[in-house]
């Protein structure tokens, strides 16, 4: 079970990132728990400066823009 958090204040890119991660996870048959982190102080704790940011099992793996499909696949 991968614990994935998407950091972002709810812009279009953040929503697309979440959709994409769900798609890739479903295609790979990987079980994940996906949480949205929308509170600014919470986001800032991860030290991310450009949203959307992605945190996998507590580690920041991506910041800024929608991640590539292949990049997402690499996290699983």
């Amino acid at each position: 079970m991968k614990d994935i958090k998407v950091l972002g204040t709810g812009c279009a890119n953040c929503r697309n990132t979440i959709k994409l991660i769900e798609e890739v996870a479903a295609a790979r048959g990987v079980a994940i728990t996906l949480t949205k982190v929308e509170e600014l102080p919470e986001i800032m704790k991860y030290g991310v400066m450009s949203t959307p940011g992605v945190v996998v099992d507590g580690k920041v793996v991506h910041a800024g823009g929608i991640p590539d499909r292949s990049k997402i696949a690499g996290w699983f």
Binding site: G8, T9, C11, N13, C14, A27, R28, G29, L40, P41, I43, M44, Y46, G47, V48, M49, S50, T51, V60, A63, G64, G65, I66, D68, R69, S70, A73
Partner: protein, 358 residues
Amino acid sequence: MHKLNQKMNTSTLAEPKPLSLSAWIAGLLVGAVLWVLAYSQLTNFADAVIGLLGLSHGNHLGEAVHFFFYDTPKVLLLLTGIVFFMGVIQTFFSPERTRALLSGKRVGVGNVLAASLGIVTPFCSCSAIPLFIGFLSAGVPLGVTFSFLISAPMVNEVALALLFGMFGWKVAALYLGLGLFVAIISGLIIGKLKMERYLEDWVQAIHAGEAPERAGETWTWLERFQAGGRHVKEIVGKVWPYIMGGIAIGAAIHGYVPQDFMASIMGKDAPWWSLPVAVAMGVPMYTNAAGVIPIVEALIGKGAALGTVLAFMMSVIALSLPEMVILRKVLRIPLIATFVGVVASGILLVGYVFNSVL
């Protein structure tokens, strides 16, 4: 486990194969040739369109339609070219690297550097706040941070590309220089006023050095080209409705507003208050450079003064109500008011200087 592996293999096969580096280079060369060809045929294309529609030059509708079919492909071509180029350039800069460059810089040098980095650092207004806090927490002074935040949206590639295409390199260069000037001076003033106490409490509580370092990403040229392609998809995909809207309004002004109508209101000999009114009108208007420049072009065609129109444009892009609502999450009202006041004064100054020099 075995089953999972199989699944992974099939889904990898199903995904489109990414282009190789040589395919990218070949594609870019062909694209560049087609781009130049298309750009050289813009007038012929618009003439052909109004010919097909049975319209002619010299009447209102014909002029408006010609404007629309000349400007739309022109703007889209310029935008695609520059946005791709900037997408590649931006892979050399990241907010993290910019922050590292700015951290601990003196006021003054720091402001100049921040405003300049604002042009090339990837920036989206939706991440303005994380960026703002990220800068402050790494010890970038408040005034230097503001120089960056003012320059990043105002002096951007979309604005410069469009100004270059419509008014030539001199106007684009002036806009670049004056935009940097406003960003640097405004940041210096905000820094001088020592307004750190007007940050929201939770922002002040984030102490310097808390942000963990992320390993810098290394890019191959293939990835840089791919980033350019994504940038085009993202930016052009987002701004084209604004552009069409802007060009449609511009076309209506071009075709139907009488010649020199604007001269008395926004022209060189207009009363002194026309400039502040133009700037004030720009604040509640929220669009990006792509939407406002076709309007600017049409206004200038009707006798509006360049300084007044550029000031209007800067105000539309740099000062917007939605942005202030977002900033309110981290700044208290006095700091937001100062920010707006200082930037608006800078823009006014630019407008007056422009109008008196040209």
